[in-house]
């Protein structure tokens, strides 16, 4: 074993037993090194085996249905982890190797204070007594940048924000001064500004404690800011390894090139986003010129939806009889022209989703008007609203949750047509459903299948097809591509763009992802704490942000390696 390497993984092969007969090889004999005192990024889309590899290092894979090939080896500090006993491994994990998970909210136990949970680690692994552990916990909270640690030490996880919870997780992970920190998508669940702070914190801690970090992410943009080395994985295999600069500047592997370019960039707006297949087939890549698209509202636009002073308040119970008003949306006004896209940007809690839901009357608005073909959607009675329902539709964020798992795709597509009496009879409706499946790029056989048989991107296509059955004029896309992998995201964005070009749909595109919004939106509305802080044509807004909050947001976007 090379003395410079802290961790050496050789021929790691992980097989899952699905049932008695079938197995699935999640990791197909990969090898990689994590040198001492450096950050290595493991990058890949879902199903690439990146998380499985890290869990194998930690020994956290479910023992019942996991087979690790006996020829595999994971050397850490000169010892093969796979040959250690469970007890030895347990003392090593947590002390020498520790891990941060994606969801801080579910990784912390909600019934204990954060101070107790950190101190528990210290008492277990460092043999500290109660008093020493508490003193050390305070130091740790201070170190990870929790404001006012003396009071926060006795707070429960629910009393903290997502970013603070992730800081607590980090404090817990570095409590025993591990040699290796594994961070599994530590910022995916967080807002872009918080993400930046957490990334900076991890980078600073890595330098200070001279530890190694194995950073697992799907976002190549993030990698450029933090990592020294990059390992790109796909389908359980390593596609490319190398120094971060070399990977970003001159990726050898076509898949890596594709990953780098599928994500909409802030600097260009191709007519269609290149997808992975384009790269693999050589249709895109360095040297291939792609037509650019221009965006923005023009004076001749015909407005479809004019929203004025839209407000929505929620009432929270306060004491026995009291009610506290919480204004989720305050006086939001905008215009949406036919065939254009309005991007709505903001962090979680900014009220951007509430705007979408109130327009569809899935929430009852507290005030304001939304004029649609001369009628106010907000104030009309429920009965009168029904025919308008089909003309304004929504695609939700999570395609795993928004399709009824007990309906076949056929049922999903036919139901809205039956409710709204679209098509003369079922035969016509079925024909239309097949036509729509084809439109969104799904095979005919999909008609008889259930949603769980499809991948995330395909499910989002089903959701889009369901909206299209009603021939809507406005489509609200509520974080519709946020849950998807980078390459799939590009495909769905292309599909949305094609449909807009073909049918002249108007989109309200709600997202926290600023680069995606830059790509798809004509005009961008920035929301903060329920209010619109800035609204401008997208090129203008990104070039010249006026409001300080917009500036903060834009500066927090990970830009990869600064060349």
């Amino acid at each position: 074993m090379d003395q410079n390497n802290l961790l050496e993984v050789r021929d790691l092969r992980v097989i899952f037993r699905l049932d008695k007969k079938n197995t699935f090889e999640a990791v197909k004999g990969i090898s990689f090194d994590v040198p001492r005192n450096s950050t290595v990024a493991l990058v890949g889309e879902s199903g690439s085996g990146k998380s499985v590899s890290s869990l194998a290092v930690m020994g956290l894979l479910p023992p019942d249905n996991t087979i690790i090939d006996p020829a595999s080896s994971i050397h850490f500090g000169g010892r093969n982890l796979l040959e250690l006993s469970i007890a030895e491994r347990r003392t090593m994990c947590g002390k020498d190797i520790s891990m941060i998970f994606q969801e801080p909210m579910s990784s912390l136990n909600p019934v204990f204070t954060v101070g107790f949970q950190i101190a528990e680690v210290l008492r277990q692994h460092m043999g500290m007594n109660r008093k020493q552990a508490r003193a050390r916990t305070l130091e740790l909270l201070e170190e990870v940048g929790i404001p006012d640690p003396a009071t926060k030490i006795d707070a429960y996880p629910s009393q903290m924000s997502g970013g603070q919870q992730q800081r607590v997780m980090i404090a817990m992970a570095i409590a025993c001064e591990p040699k290796l920190l594994i961070a599994d998508e530590p910022t995916t669940a967080l807002d872009v500004t918080i993400q930046k702070q957490i990334m900076d914190l991890i980078a600073a801690l890595q330098k200070k404690h001279q530890m190694s970090v194995l950073f697992i992410t799907h976002d190549l943009g993030l990698v450029g800011e933090i990592a020294d080395h990059v390992i790109v994985m796909r389908h359980g295999e390593v596609r490319e390894t190398g120094e971060v600069r070399q990977v970003f500047e001159a990726a050898k592997d076509t898949y890596t090139q594709a990953l780098l370019h599928c994500r909409p960039s802030l600097d260009e707006r191709p007519w269609r986003l290149p997808v992975i297949a384009d790269y693999m087939e050589g249709k895109a890549g360095p040297g291939v010129e792609i037509a650019q698209r221009t965006r923005g509202y023009t004076p001749g636009d015909e407005p479809v939806l004019v929203v004025k002073n839209l407000s929505k308040s929620f009432y929270l119970r306060d004491g026995w009889f009291g009610k506290r008003e919480f204004q989720a949306v305050k006086d939001v006004s905008f215009t949406l022209p036919r065939g254009k896209t309005l991007g709505v940007v903001g962090e979680s809690g900014s009220g951007k989703t509430t705007v979408g839901l109130t327009l569809l009357r899935l929430h009852q608005a507290t005030g304001g008007t939304a004029m649609f073909h001369g009628k106010d959607l907000i104030s009309m009675p429920n009965k009168e609203y029904l025919p308008y329902k089909r003309r304004i539709q929504i695609i939700f964020q999570n395609p795993y949750a928004s399709l009824n798992p007990r309906f076949t795709v056929g049922q999903i597509l036919l139901e809205p047509m039956r409710i709204h009496n679209i098509g003369a009879n079922d035969k016509e409706r079925i024909a239309k459903a097949y036509w729509l499946l084809d439109k969104v790029g799904l095979p005919e056989q999909a008609f008889h299948r259930y949603p769980h048989e499809f991948s995330g991107g395909q499910r989002q296509r089903i959701a889009i097809a369901r909206c299209l059955t009603m021939q809507p004029e406005i489509l609200v896309c509520d974080e519709s591509v946020s849950a998807l992998d980078v390459s799939v995201q590009a495909q769905v964005l292309n599909l949305l763009q094609d449909l807009q070009d073909e049918f002249g749909l108007s989109y309200i595109f709600i997202s926290h992802d600023l680069s995606v919004v830059k790509y798809i939106a004509d005009q961008v509305m920035v929301m903060h704490k329920g209010q619109v802080v800035e609204m401008a044509d997208s090129d203008e807004l990104y070039r010249n942000p006026v409001h300080p909050y917009t500036q903060t947001l834009l500066s927090a976007i990970p830009r990869g390696v600064q060349l």
């Binding site: 049932d19 008695k20 839901l357 569809l360 899935l362 029904l386 329902k389 089909r390 539709q393 929504i394 939700f396 964020q397 999570n398 949750a401 928004s402 399709l403 009824n404 798992p405 007990r406 309906f407 076949t408 139901e415 809205p416 409710i419 709204h420 097949y434 005919e444 056989q445 008609f447 008889h448 299948r449 259930y450 048989e453 959701a463 369901r466 009603m470």
Partner: protein, 372 residues
């Protein structure tokens, strides 16, 4: 277009998982056998003649051999109905009234006609009674020779215990199934409405539920029994169904509260689906496994409850047999050492309930593999 390809839905996948579970398959076979027996009994193939007095009273099981101590009945197999009355009860020396009884007997012995003379009153039913006796003689088969032993013995009237157990099983299983179905339907509808609409509707159902459950369950059952007044299988079904909906209600309500906020329900709202459609066409298929598991748990509980009710005397009417009424009879028999009726009913019930419970557990695991 290829209509041939249909994908396995939830139930097909659950069945696949269930098939891999040995315990589940064995218990399913046992439950299936009981159900087949029940159907056979209901259609009159088996156990239809359970009311025939085919054997001597308390004929023991064959493997024990016939009673040799004479007992109450003669070994010749002919019932001497008058024997009991004619043979004088042996004098108990410890009885403080022994002297008085001896005196009374002496009086009656001197004038035996005094007791039957009816004090000059003619029995108003005597004509009816003779008519009835005549008709019974016509319809009821007269069994000339009664068996002295049966495979699993006979009860007081000489009914075959095996036939009786099968017939009793029919009543018990029907009561269990129908009452459980009623309870789950009530619980599901209340739970769905309450959980889906929330607010005042939910408050109303919760108050109702709280009041209902604050009454001790046995008292509740007796109250309903008192209100319904008449005995019968339908009454028991109603008693159990009307008191048993609380458990499913609570669970289904919780599921509806959880599901109504899910995105797929919001998506259904967005396409304009009505409340009714969202409740039963969208949400219900997603929580039907809860209802099914509740139902099978209740079937087990209600089979046992029917036994308790019959034991308390609120059960099936005279002329209908159930496992509960068999156990009720058994309490007197056990004193006489006639254990076979008790054993037969208890064993049949124990086997069915155990198999059903095991199957229910396996079914829950198969429908919700994440729990495991």
């Amino acid at each position: 277009m290829s209509n041939t390809h249909t994908s396995p839905g939830l139930w097909a996948l659950a069945w696949r998982r269930l098939r891999g579970d040995k315990v589940a398959m064995v218990s399913l076979a046992v439950v299936g056998a009981f159900f087949l027996l029940m159907i056979a009994s209901a259609s009159g193939l088996v156990g239809a003649n359970w009311e025939d007095e085919v054997a001597v009273s308390y004929a023991p099981p064959t493997f024990m051999g016939a009673d040799t101590d004479g007992g109450i009945d003669g070994v010749d197999g002919v019932v001497h109905a008058s024997d009991e009355r004619s043979t004088p009860t042996p004098v108990n020396v410890l009885d403080p009234l022994a002297d008085d009884i001896a005196e009374l007997r002496a009086q009656m012995g001197s004038n035996p006609a005094a007791g039957v003379e009816m004090y000059g009153v003619t029995d108003p039913l005597s004509d009816d009674l003779t008519a009835l006796r005549a008709s019974m003689g016509k319809t009821k088969k007269i069994i000339a020779h009664k068996a002295s032993t049966l495979p699993f013995g006979a009860d007081k009237w000489g009914h075959d215990v095996i036939d009786k157990t099968i017939k009793g099983g029919e009543t018990s299983i029907v009561v269990g199934l129908v009452a459980a179905l009623l309870a789950v339907v009530l619980g599901t509808v209340f739970g769905a409405v309450s959980g889906y609409f929330g607010g005042i509707v939910d408050d109303f159902f919760n108050w109702f539920y709280s009041i209902f459950t604050s009454i001790p369950s046995i008292l509740m059952i007796l109250t309903v029994a008192a209100v319904l007044q008449q005995k019968g299988v339908l009454t028991i079904v109603l008693i159990l169904g009307l008191t048993g909906w609380t458990g499913p209600y609570r669970l289904i309500r919780a599921e509806y509260i959880k599901h109504k906020a899910r995105e797929y329900v919001m998506a259904a709202d967005a396409i304009g689906a009505s409340h009714w459609r969202k409740m039963f066409s969208h949400i219900f298929p997603n929580i039907s496994h809860v209802a099914l598991v509740q139902m099978s748990i209740l079937v087990v509980g209600f089979i046992k409850a029917e036994v308790i009710l019959s034991f308390l005397g609120f059960g099936v009417p005279v002329g209908t047999v159930s496992w509960g009424s068999m156990l009720n009879e058994a309490q007197n028999e056990l004193i006489l050492g006639k254990w076979w009726q008790l054993t037969a009913a208890a064993a049949a019930m124990a086997v069915l309930v155990t198999a059903f419970s095991l199957f229910t557990d396996a079914l829950r695991d198969a429908l919700d593999p994440k729990v495991k």
